[in-house]
């Protein structure tokens, strides 16, 4: 091969390289641009009405009567937070215990059977969860505790189950990623299995476990279908666990099909609030995990 041929080949490779880099850049940006489009669109559609009626009456108002131009989102904000908190109270302890059992105490064979099944749970459509809630859970709550059955409690339980696969599979992965030498070192120091989990594995896997909880929380805040079916959807601030409740997502999904004019704008504003809540929760969670990672 003489000098010019070498040069030509070199140029061609260089051009290919540039093309690939450009293509990858475009693909990466298109993913981000979707987020930008959503943000611009929702904020553009939703914020004017918030300022027209005043932020305070919009966020803190307790009456939601769109036909009378009363757009108070407070009941839905409270509803979303209650249901999400309830789902975490149920999902986190169950999910983490399950993850610990699977990584530390179950044999490889048992883990090989159970983990895929749990991951399968994530694939079940949310409407099916809602259906199970309506058929089994709601009547059970109505008979046992009284009230309408469609309630904060029912929604929390169903959402708690729905976020299990997320919490379990990510926690299992992060617990398994802890170097085996940590485990051996702790056991050689005479720690029991449980002490090893509590004092060594958990701190070491903390960032992964927190990430699993954040993702579970995101799923619980955003879930719509199941909550519409079992939460009762009354646009009132719930006064007990057995009271019906409407979440922000349900609010949008229930009324979007017939809303017009300012009502429609108010639903976009609901979307803005939802968006902000999720951003805030994510930021808090990320900040705590980052802070903890710095000072182990």
């Amino acid at each position: 091969m003489d000098g010019t041929a070498k040069k030509r080949v070199g140029n061609k490779l260089e051009r290919n390289d540039r093309l690939v880099r450009l293509a990858l850049l475009v693909i990466a940006f298109s993913a981000v641009s979707v987020l930008v489009v959503i943000t611009v669109f929702i904020v553009g559609q939703g914020t004017p009405i918030m300022f027209r009626y005043g932020l305070k009456s919009f966020l803190a108002g307790t009456s939601w009567y769109p036909s009378e131009k009363l757009f108070g989102l407070w009941p839905m904000i409270v509803g979303s937070l209650f249901v999400t908190a309830g789902a975490l109270v149920i999902g986190v302890p169950f999910g983490l215990s399950c993850a610990i059992v699977l990584t530390e105490f179950a044999s490889k064979r048992v883990r090989g059977i159970i983990k895929p099944i749990i991951e399968l749970l994530a694939g079940i459509p949310s409407v099916v969860y809602g259906f199970m809630g309506v058929i089994i859970l709601v009547p059970f709550i109505r008979k046992t505790f009284g009230g309408p059955g469609l309630s904060v409690l029912a929604a929390s339980i169903i959402l708690g189950i729905m976020i299990l696969p997320t919490i379990i599979s990510i926690s299992v992965d992060s617990l398994q990623a802890v170097p085996p030498s940590y485990r051996e070192g702790s056991i050689a120091l005479g720690a029991t299995r449980w002490q090893t989990v509590k004092m060594v594995l958990f701190p070491a896997a903390r960032s992964g476990i927190i990430a699993s909880i954040i993702l579970g929380m995101g799923r619980a805040v955003g879930e719509t279908m199941a909550t519409i079916m079992i939460a009762g959807n009354a646009a009132e601030v719930p006064h007990s666990l057995l009271a019906p409740v409407r979440t922000l997502t349900s609010n949008v999904a229930l009324e979007m099909s017939y809303a017009t004019g300012e009502h429609r704008e108010a639903l976009f504003a609901t979307g803005v609030v939802l968006f902000v809540i999720i951003m805030v929760l994510n930021t808090i969670a990320n900040a705590t995990s980052a802070k903890r990672r710095k000072q182990p």
Binding site: A188, L189, G190, Q195, Q295
Partner: protein
């Protein structure tokens, strides 16, 4: 068994599945001595250490023949409390594994686990252990920084101190200086010489010179067999077995 015998190994074989990793070992470890164990890679040195604190139990399909008695008590007896046993035999691994926590918490780990609370008591234990491990002077002003931020040699001494905090009677070291520079190695060896007054030490090492420097007696392992055990001076100058001689002169291994 005489009073100065601390660990008594009789006809001990360790199997992992079908593989016989240790072959009918017979040896004693005397109280307050440093027993050096040398031998080529994969000759069963580490397996032997892990047989003493039953860490081999964690390997699926492991089983054994023969007996190991520590202070006269058969450690493979079904009635033995394995957790208590492991507390008695502190182990330092080849790669230092500080827990991802502060220096203080690393050393206090064992004590906290025993249910010792109270800042003053913990402070005392931590200081005492770090002093014995020869690390106190270097870290006394930064006990709250992460154990992972220390140098390799300091991490290894941290691991040593962490074990001492549990108040064991035996210290098992598995190539504790294999990744360390000569100065750090020297510091660890100094600590060991000091520690043998209170503890009985088994030191597995790939560095035969290290055994010559610190061990009172030395055992030579080859392919899971104990070839020879005796006073270090004798092993290194006039070994009985030609294989020992060959290994020490670097003819194989």
């Amino acid at each position: 068994m005489t009073n100065d015998t601390a660990i008594e190994v009789r006809g001990f074989s360790q199997y992992f599945g079908e593989v016989r990793k240790l072959k009918a070992l017979d040896l004693d470890v005397k109280r307050n001595e440093i027993l050096g164990i040398i031998g080529p890679a994969r000759s069963g040195k580490s397996t032997f250490l892990c047989a003493l604190n039953r860490l081999n139990d964690l390997v699926r399909g492991s089983h054994h023949e023969g007996t190991i008695r520590i202070d006269g008590c058969d450690i493979y007896d079904p009635g033995v409390d394995v957790v208590a046993l492991r507390r008695q035999l502190g182990m330092v691994f080849a790669t230092p594994v500080p827990l991802p926590r502060s220096i203080f918490e690393n050393v206090a780990f064992g004590a906290r686990r025993e249910g010792i609370r109270g800042r003053t008591r913990l402070d005392g234990i931590v200081r005492d252990s770090l002093e014995k491990g020869g690390l106190w002077e270097e870290v006394k002003d930064r006990l709250e920084t992460s154990g992972l931020k220390l140098s390799g040699g300091q991490q290894q001494r941290l691991c040593l101190a962490r074990i001492l905090a549990v108040a064991p009677e035996y210290i098992l070291l598995d190539e504790p200086t294999s990744g360390l520079d000569p100065i750090s190695t020297m510091k660890i060896e100094e600590s060991l010489r000091r520690l043998k007054k209170e503890y009985t030490i088994v030191l597995v090492t790939n560095n035969t010179k290290q055994a010559a420097r610190v061990a009172d007696r030395t055992a030579f392992f080859l392919n899971g067999e104990l070839v020879e055990i005796g006073m270090t001076a004798k092993i290194f100058t006039a070994p009985d077995d030609t294989r020992t001689d060959d290994y020490l002169r670097g003819r194989f291994g």
